[in-house]
């Protein structure tokens, strides 16, 4: 089947039940989207489907046909994506970095719907993304910074 990823069409040979995460990582070779739980509990696999934050680990390929998929590798294509990455760098957010692709994808989706998010907006927009290193406070700062830039 055909997948529209970051503006390019990729042909994958996979069963329609395969979660998008594994098609991205193992079939297409886009490894920026991370596996953390496989159950939509940690947010490491967050991608955008038609601009909306989606957990790729529980989204079957059958649900993404004809939809625009954006991954961390393509997020800099948008001005907002670039701004969020720049804010992440300015705040020196990552420690191990493993969860940060998902954090950034969630943050971009949040900022798209809430260009000037309150702390409460950040709470609800980002609470699904786990970080074991404890980068949450800088994530919050980076989102505010991106909103102000």
């Amino acid at each position: 089947m055909k997948l529209d990823i970051n503006g390019r069409t990729h042909e994958v040979d996979a069963s329609p039940e395969m979660p998008l995460l594994w098609a991205l990582r193992d079939l297409v070779g886009l490894t920026g989207t991370k596996f953390g739980c496989g159950a939509a509990l940690c947010g490491a696999c967050t991608v955008h489907l038609d601009g909306e934050a989606t957990r790729a680990c529980v989204t079957p390929l059958s649900a993404v046909a004809g939809r625009k998929i954006t991954t961390i590798e393509g997020i800099a294509e948008s001005a907002l994506g670039k701004k969020v990455q720049a804010a992440w760098i300015a705040e020196d957010v990552p420690q191990c970095g493993y969860c940060q692709s998902g954090q950034i994808m969630s943050a971009v989706a949040l900022l798209r719907s809430h260009p000037k998010p309150s702390d409460a907006d950040i709470d609800s927009g980002m609470n699904g993304n786990l970080c074991r290193c404890g980068t949450y406070n800088r994530i919050r700062l980076a989102i505010h910074r991106a909103a102000e830039s």
């Binding site: 594994w22 991370k34 496989g38 159950a39 020196d92 970095g97 692709s101 609470n127 406070n137």
Partner: protein, 717 residues
């Protein structure tokens, strides 16, 4: 996206005479690409290309603690190059990279900067000296007239200069000087500065290469069906349905279970789900956390093996007697990146790609399983998506298994653990019971203190045990650290351990034994203060009068937290202090109850860790440790019922989320002492700081973790 990076595999002679094989990590990928052709190894830490690009080899694993940045700061400072001009690579496995205090290359014990600071300064100074010597020959002037600056050697008198790129080849042929002098502190440009991390860009655009991102030509994926209770072994299995799953290539038995190899991870997990395996139950079939807790509590009331004694704590003392029991559970490390390992056999031996903290040990283990000599195994250290101790295992469990899975398979195999595999896979922080008794003297301070613990050894059954166990007592220091090195000036102290034996694999977990001993000690000293009717801060200060580092961090944290100043109604503060890995950390937690549940609003920490290479990263490590410890204090536990682990994913093993993260402020005590540990010391004091605050708020003493088991009701005002 590792496939293209394989082209960066390269070899170069080292000053130590060995062979360097570096796998470039995606930090400054372009620079690495540009410098492939003509890199010269000046020594084991420094490579310089003809175009002047400098590559620094870091033998420590980057798992979030910022070691690539810290090591680069030290080396680049001595080498007189800008951080923006260096590329960092994971060093290969070689004896030259062994720790100064252990015959192995590893990352742990908060020892990277503390243990390598002088080594790196000398390595940088030595390389600089060799470049200067090469320039002296080239320019025909005495070395004493030359100095290094901005990646070049300069002859100030004539205005001539030669770039490192032009000098590296000659420099590498020179003998390494034995007397190269590191720069004095007054000349440091990078050491001591809060420079941004050098790996951030790759971590915000998806290009950072973790173990799970390794991609080799023809690589296939495997998952392993392991028993659901510890010690069980496969009796027989039926793989017919598994083999019928689209994408499944092979099903094979390995020592740890039944492996399913497939063209992709999803197919492998589907194949595993279709497997029918009959297991022979083993020693762990009956495990019960409740039974362990009851057994440990009973044993803690019996004497145990004395590991430390001063005065006569066991003698009958008169005064106000206190006793308390503290219980802590098994904990999983649960790094965000589940375990994984790629193994590729070839005619030349075997390549292993994994995010490990234990290079030497894992390479030897891989070689043993592969039937090769260690030198025939090339271990490539990737970035680690969190470590916290799980990736430094004397048993090399996931590496051994991955080699067994791939052995004899014609293509490279990545063995992947799911989150459920990770949480069920053992190597936990051990469950523990700490029982304390004290007798207070007339001034309210403890005249005697007795601490008895029941806890497993961390290394029993591995080669490490013989090195770590005290032959006289049969006990490991990691079982009682944080208790037997009690800092409080109490005249009579007795610390004893019951060595528990359980069929549960255990391991160090960020701050090791201190994780449970600090909770017990810092809770109990708070209980003593309360019994004496004294302020918890003043009480600690009185008992630590001869411990300047403790005093410094306690006073700094208390001052910055506003200790003793009014708080909003329904809020309270608690304090704790603990020494570990050579450093001392004090933390003040501010808490309230929200819907009857503890909520931590703010943590103010102060750390004394000697000389600081990067204050930004030191602060961030303490902040991270607060989050890690808070996750455990609020929610963390691995429990057993009928041998089965009751937790399986982040739904029931729940780390702190963004909404639970307190504000964290970290203050560093200025010091020029030798650097001490940073990655772990922020962890131990947190739980007691929180429970002491909850006591101040509610009058309820939480003596069991996690706090989800403790009922709090706010004391009526």
């Amino acid at each position: 996206m590792y496939a293209s990076r394989r082209t960066f595999l390269k070899t170069a002679g080292t000053a130590a005479g060995g062979l360097l094989i570096g796998l470039a990590l995606p930090v400054r990928t372009r620079a690495a690409t540009a410098s492939v052709a003509a890199d010269t190894a000046v020594n084991a830490y420094v490579r310089i290309a003809t175009d002047g690009k400098v590559t620094l080899l870091v033998p420590k694993s980057e798992m979030g603690q910022g070691v690539y940045t810290g090591f680069a700061q030290i080396l680049a400072d001595e080498l007189e190059v800008g951080l923006e001009h260096v590329t960092v690579e994971a060093a290969p496995v070689a004896a030259v990279y062994n720790a100064t205090f252990a015959p192995m290359q590893f990352t742990g014990g908060s020892s990277s900067i503390a243990g390598s600071f002088e080594v790196l300064r000398k390595a940088g100074a030595s390389a600089r000296s060799m470049l200067i010597a090469a320039a002296a020959t080239e320019l025909g002037v005495p070395a004493g007239e030359l100095h290094a600056a901005n990646g070049a050697v300069v002859h100030a008198a004539s205005g001539r200069q030669l770039s490192y790129g032009a000098l590296a080849a000659r420099a590498a042929t020179l003998p390494a000087p034995t007397d190269a002098k590191p720069k004095p502190a007054s000349e440091w440009r990078l050491i001591g500065k809060a420079v941004p991390r050098i790996d951030t860009r790759a971590k915000v655009n998806g290009s950072a290469g973790f173990g799970l991102d390794v991609r080799l030509p023809g690589m296939v994926y495997a998952v392993v069906a392991r028993p659901s209770t510890f010690g069980a072994t496969p009796l027989r299995y039926d793989a017919k349905a598994a083999r019928a799953v689209r994408g499944v290539l092979e099903v094979r038995e390995v020592p740890s279970g039944i492996a399913v190899i497939a063209t992709n991870t999803w197919a492998a997990t589907q194949g595993r789900a279709a497997l029918r395996v009959e297991w022979q139950a083993g020693a762990g079939a009956e495990l019960s956390s409740d039974r362990i807790a009851a057994d440990y509590a009973a044993r803690a009331r019996t004497p145990g093996v004395v590991v430390y004694e001063r005065g006569a704590a066991s003698a009958t003392a008169t005064g106000h007697a206190l006793e308390a029991d503290y219980a802590t559970p098994y904990l999983a490390h649960a790094p965000m990146e589940p375990l994984n390992c790629v193994v590729a056999f070839s005619a030349a031996g075997c390549d292993v790609y994994t995010g490990t903290q234990f290079q030497t040990v894992d390479r030897a283990a891989a070689a043993a399983v592969a039937g090769l000599a260690p030198e025939q195994v090339r271990l490539h250290t990737t970035l680690l998506g969190g470590g916290f101790g799980r990736r430094g295992n004397p048993a090399s469990d996931w590496v051994r298994e991955a080699v067994a899975v791939a052995k004899g398979y014609p293509q490279p195999v990545m063995t992947v653990w799911t989150r459920e595999d990770d949480l069920h896979g053992g190597y936990y922080r051990p469950q523990a019971h700490n029982r304390l008794t004290a007798v207070l003297a007339a001034d309210g301070l403890p005249a005697s203190w007795s601490h008895t613990q029941v806890v497993q050894s961390l290394t029993r059954g591995t080669a490490f045990h013989a090195m770590m166990v005290n032959p006289k007592t049969g006990i490991e220091a990691t079982q009682h650290e944080g208790a037997s090195d009690l800092s409080y000036a109490i005249p009579n102290v007795r610390v004893a351990v019951h060595d528990a034996i359980q069929p549960v694999p255990v391991l160090w977990w960020r701050s090791v034994g201190h994780t449970h001993t600090s909770f017990a000690v810092e809770s109990f000293v708070d209980e003593c203060a309360a019994a004496a009717g004294q302020d918890p801060l003043a009480y600690r200060l009185a008992l630590l009068a001869d411990q300047p580092r403790h005093l410094a961090v306690l006073k700094l944290a208390a001052e910055k937290a506003g200790w003793g100043t009014p708080l909003p109604s329904g809020h309270a503060r608690g304090i704790a202090v603990h020494a570990s890995f050579g450093s001392v950390v004090a933390e003040v937690a501010e808490v309230s109850l929200v819907d009857g549940k503890p909520r931590v609003h703010r943590v103010v920490a102060a750390i004394h860790c000697g000389l600081v290479v990067n204050p930004g990263q030191v602060a961030y490590q303490v902040e991270g440790a607060v989050c890690f410890a808070l996750s455990a204090a609020l929610h963390g536990e691995i429990t057993f019922v009928d041998g089965q682990v009751q937790q399986s994913n982040f739904g029931d093993y729940t780390p702190v989320r963004l909404t639970e993260m307190p504000r964290v402020e970290v203050h560093i005590v200025p010091s020029t002492d030798a650097p001490t540990g940073v990655g772990e010391p922020g962890t131990p004091p947190l739980a007691a700081a929180v429970t002491n605050a909850l006591y101040a708020l509610t009058g309820v003493r939480a003596r069991r973790l996690p706090l989800s088991h403790v009922e709090f009701t706010k004391a009526s005002a």
